[in-house]
Structures are given as structure tokens and as C-alpha cells.
């Protein structure tokens, strides 16, 4: 190794200016990629970006018709909200991770011909997923207003919305961590995609999206809840629900008759996995650090395998 003649501080200056240059460069790439990702989804449809709002609504409607009838929830109008909360969060995760997984290999042409940081691609997929989440949140607000006709605007601009925003960084760290692992694994093993799709189905059933955890009773129920608590997605879904669904579901029942009180108790019961922001950030940071470590460790061989 050649020893440089320049003094130490100058080397340090060069080092920092390099970091700054890299940061500016990557910021612009990520920005452009996110823009493309969001646009590309509905580029050829007549209503364009509106689909991002409509898609979760239609999805919710289908699930409401199917599962509402099966589980007998269809009389409860707040069930649509219950479904939508779970659906939005889970689909954001699903979209971000599946897209990130193939992002490195799909951009093989770019990576082998230009010097680009590998992380740029999973990162832009995750940011666009969060952008889509924001659009889905609009859908959620619409449903909130429809379900709770008493004082709709109170919920829209309430503390709860703020709480929902607070969980987003933790959620982002979590999905980004998962994405990094998957993206790295996919470079080495292309059949991971099939395994992950199967795993996603299992993951969806292990997350209370359409069923309520309080309906599972007995020893099996206790055991099931214990397993659910080990699933980070449950915490994200349940937290998001606690700050949106539960609160509206409770206030939408205004009378004080015995039946109404029972109903309120049932709603409180339906969120039996109590979680808090600290837990969410714990999961988020743990997955992020693990993902980053795995990604950086496998990065050195990407170029030959891709």
C-alpha cells in the first residue's frame, strides 16, 4: 500500500468530502427511483394515482363481504375499519419486501455498469412503500368518516393521527431490515422468491388481519396468542389499530344501554395484544441492525453473483 504524502487533516477532509458527495449523489438517485416506483404502478390506467387510494378500499370491500359473512362480523359496521387497518399495514410490508427482494437483480444492468451503492435500490422500494402507505391512509380517513358520522373531523386531526405517524419510523426500519436480508439472499438464491411467497401466506394468517384474537378461546387460544406475540407484524398491526380502529369503534357507540356497554367491552377485548411504541421501535431497530449487518457482510460478493 502506498503511503500518501498529504497530511492527515487533508486526508480527513477528502474523506468527508467523499462522504458528502456520496450522500448527495445517493439522495438524488433514491429520489428519482422513488418517483419512478410510485408513478410506474398505475402509469397506464385512466385514473392514475387515484388507484393507490381505491385499491385498499376495494380490497377491504372484498374481505368484508367474504370474512364478514364467515365470521359473522358483517352486522358490525366498524369491522370495515378493523379490516382496513390490518390490510394497509400488512400490504405495505408485503409490497416493500417483495419489491426490494428482486430490486438488486432487476437492476443488474445498472449495477454492473455504474458505481452505485447497492442499498439505493431496496431503500427506494421501501420509501415508495411508505409513500403508498400515506395514500392508503387517505382511504382510511374516508372510511373513518363514513363509519363515525358523529364527529368525523375530530379523528382526522386528532392525537391518534399523530400517534400513527410516530409508529412509521419504527415500521420503516422493520420493513427495511427485512428487505435488506431478502435482497441479499435473492442475489445468491433465486428460488427464495417462491419460498418467500409461501411464507407470506403463512405470515398473513399468523397476523390478525381479518380475524379477531378474542374469538380464539381455551388453551389453544392462549397458546396461539403467545405465538402471535413473537410476530413483529402483529405488534405493528395492533398498534395501528389501537390508535385508529379501537378509538373510533368505542366512540361510535354513544348510548349507554346494557347491550352497548357489552359491545364496547367486546371492542376493547378484540385488541388483546397490547403493545406500545417502545416495543415497535425495539422490533424495528433489531431488524434494521440485523438486516444491515447481513447485507454488508454479503455485499462484497454481489458483483460476481448478480
Amino acid at each position: 500500500m502506498n503511503t500518501s504524502k498529504s497530511p492527515k487533516f487533508q486526508r480527513l477532509k477528502i474523506f468527508f468530502s467523499n462522504i458528502k458527495r456520496e450522500f448527495i449523489k445517493n439522495k438524488n438517485i433514491v429520489g428519482q427511483l422513488v418517483k419512478r416506483n410510485v408513478k410506474v404502478q398505475y402509469r397506464n390506467s385512466a385514473i392514475g394515482i387515484l388507484w393507490t387510494v381505491l385499491n385498499p378500499l376495494l380490497n377491504m370491500l372484498v374481505m368484508y363481504l367474504v370474512f364478514g359473512t364467515i365470521f359473522g362480523y358483517s352486522s358490525d359496521k366498524t369491522y370495515v375499519l378493523y379490516l382496513l387497518c390490518g390490510n394497509i399495514i400488512f400490504n405495505t410490508m408485503r409490497g416493500a419486501t417483495t419489491q426490494s427482494m428482486t430490486s438488486l437483480v432487476n437492476n443488474r444492468g445498472l449495477l454492473t455498469k455504474n458505481k452505485i451503492a447497492f442499498q439505493v435500490f431496496p431503500l427506494s422500494c421501501n420509501i415508495s412503500a411508505i409513500v403508498n402507505l400515506a395514500f392508503s391512509y387517505i382511504a382510511l380517513l374516508i372510511v373513518m368518516m363514513v363509519v363515525d358520522t358523529s364527529c368525523p373531523f375530530m379523528h382526522v386531526f386528532s392525537l391518534n393521527m399523530f400517534k400513527a405517524i410516530l409508529m412509521i419510523p419504527a415500521f420503516f426500519l422493520f420493513i427495511y431490515g427485512v428487505s435488506l436480508v431478502l435482497a441479499a439472499a435473492y442475489v445468491y438464491f433465486r428460488d427464495i422468491l417462491h419460498y418467500y411467497n409461501i411464507f407470506l401466506t403463512l405470515w398473513m394468517y399468523m397476523t390478525p388481519i381479518f380475524y379477531k384474537t378474542n374469538t380464539i378461546s381455551g388453551n389453544f387460544g392462549k397458546f396461539f396468542v403467545m405465538i402471535l406475540k413473537c410476530n413483529p407484524m402483529v405488534h405493528f398491526v395492533e398498534y395501528f389499530r389501537a390508535v385508529t380502529y379501537r378509538m373510533i369503534a368505542e366512540t361510535s357507540i354513544t348510548d349507554t344501554s346494557a347491550e352497548a356497554v357489552k359491545q364496547v367491552a367486546a371492542i376493547k377485548d378484540s385488541v388483546i395484544i397490547d403493545t406500545n411504541l417502545l416495543t415497535l421501535y425495539g422490533w424495528g431497530i433489531a431488524f434494521f441492525v440485523a438486516g444491515l449487518l447481513i447485507f454488508s457482510a454479503s455485499k462484497r460478493n454481489f458483483m460476481y453473483k448478480i
Binding site: M1, N2, N28, L33, R36, L110, K113, N114, K115, K305
Partner: protein, 268 residues
């Protein structure tokens, strides 16, 4: 995975103005190895089956073997050799895409790779969107791109097509756009890999003019091409790489003559 405890490969990209007197590219004893078998295993299932059978191919192939050369600022150097000799790998190491297995590489100054024009193009997007996307990939900030946008459009001569999706472009038009974006950079080092045969005769002349302009400004050129005429026109010096080893390094006419003779003698 076994950790590579060999000599750490050194890469550094330092600004050029601090070290004017030093060579702009310094290759000392660079060695590059690839695993041969990696391409064959694509799936986890296959990997386990082969792993159990003990059939994982770990043989390595040396793509570059002890390559050393220096390039001074403002020099134009051609790299010649047969397909698979290691020319493109050398360019990728200069860009920083690949890191050498052994040896040290120093590159002083910013590098503009013209390795594959329009590699980052999204054919569903419009030409304008592609200029911004591709420009970002080449390392420009948004502000720079806004400044350069008009120049790029003018150079590509595609004023009327900026809001047309790229899928409706002819291949020549795509190449022109790619070249216009890549060339508009004011780089210290320009890497050119078989991309000069772009567009029609007029556009080709325009490219040649732009390149000689950059040359006058003091840019360094590294050219990979199989066209001896082009190389002789563009470069003063040539490096001949054959079977991953450096065979000769010297004035372009001399080396090209040697190479052509070697090619004639090795025809089957």
C-alpha cells in the same frame, strides 16, 4: 463463507487538484479472480443438493494477473486484446464497480463511465424523466441536472420528443440520448467501452468533436475498442492485455501493429 485474509485491496478516489504531479490512474500488481462455479447455482435447493454431494465448484479463474500501469493526466490510452482478455474488467476496476482481489488501484479524479449507454433507461418513462433518472445514476445532483438539461436536449437533437415515452424511440434515438447524458459531465477521466459507433454520421461527427473538446480541456481517456482505426485516431498510447496478462504497453501505432500481427498469426 471463508473470509479473504489476503492483502486488502486498496481503492481511493481523491480529488485531483491536490495531487497534480501524481499519475491520475495507478495500477500496481492488480489481480482479479472470479469463482467459476457461481453462475451455475441459482437456487437454495440446488445449493443444498450440491453441497451435500460435495459438488460445489470452487475453482477460480484469474481475469487479471499482475497488471501494472500508470496513466498521466491528459493522456489517452487504448486497451486492446481479445474478447475475455480482461479489458472490461480493467475498466470496471477503474470505475470502482469491482474491487481487485490483490494489489492496489489509485484513481485521482472523478470518473465518467461510458460503459453501456442508457443502461438505466426506463422505456415506459418519457425522455425527460429518463434524463433525470439516468443523470442521477451518473452521480449528478438535481440542481446540476436542471442546469444541464437544456444542453443535454440540444446535444441529443431530440427537442420535440422530450415528452414521448422511450419505448416509441428508435434505437438510434435512444443511443443518442444516452450519449448526450453521459458526455455532459466534465469528467477528469472518461472511460469509453465500444460506444462510439452511435447514431448517424452527423451525430458521430458531433461526438468526435465533443471528445476532442474534452481532450483539449485536459480530460484523460481510457478507450476499449476493437476498431484499430478509431483507437489510432483517438489515443497516443495503447495497452495490450492478453490472457489476463499485460503483454505490451507503448505508443499506439507500435502496439497496434504488434497486436494485428499476433491476430493474423493466431487465426485458425
Amino acid at each position: 463463507m471463508k473470509k479473504n485474509k489476503k492483502e486488502e485491496a486498496v481503492m481511493s478516489h481523491a480529488p485531483v487538484e491536490t495531487q497534480e504531479e501524481l499519475p491520475i490512474i495507478e495500477f500496481s500488481d492488480v489481480e482479479m479472480e472470479f469463482y467459476m462455479g457461481t453462475e451455475k447455482i441459482d437456487g437454495l435447493k440446488e445449493f443444498f443438493i450440491k453441497f451435500i454431494k460435495g459438488k460445489i465448484d470452487r475453482t477460480k479463474k484469474k481475469v487479471l494477473d499482475g497488471i501494472s500501469f500508470n496513466v498521466k493526466k491528459g493522456e489517452s490510452v487504448a486497451i486492446i486484446g481479445h474478447n475475455g482478455a480482461g479489458k472490461s474488467t480493467t475498466l470496471k476496476i477503474i470505475t470502482g464497480i469491482l474491487k481487485p482481489t490483490k494489489g492496489s488501484v489509485k484513481v485521482r479524479g472523478n470518473v465518467a463511465p461510458l460503459l453501456n449507454l442508457g443502461a438505466g433507461f426506463d422505456f415506459e418513462a418519457t425522455a425527460k424523466e429518463n434524463i433525470y433518472l439516468n443523470g442521477a445514476i451518473l452521480g449528478h445532483s438535481k440542481k446540476e441536472l436542471e442546469k444541464k438539461y437544456n444542453d443535454i436536449v440540444e446535444f441529443s437533437e431530440l427537442h420535440d420528443y422530450m415528452n414521448v415515452p422511450l419505448k416509441n424511440f428508435s434505437s438510434g434515438m435512444v443511443a443518442r440520448l444516452g450519449f448526450a447524458i453521459a458526455i455532459d459531465v466534465d469528467p477528469d477521466i472518461l472511460l469509453i467501452d465500444e460506444v462510439l459507433a452511435v447514431g448517424d454520421e452527423n451525430f458521430r461527427q458531433k461526438c468526435a468533436k465533443k471528445i476532442s473538446e474534452l481532450k483539449e480541456k485536459g480530460a484523460t481517456f481510457i478507450v476499449v475498442s476493437h476498431s484499430m482505426g478509431q483507437i489510432k485516431q483517438l489515443c497516443q498510447r495503447a495497452i495490450w492485455i492478453e490472457n489476463s496478462k499485460l503483454v505490451a504497453d507503448g505508443p499506439v501505432d507500435e502496439i497496434c501493429a504488434k497486436y494485428e500481427e499476433y491476430c493474423r498469426n493466431n487465426k485458425h
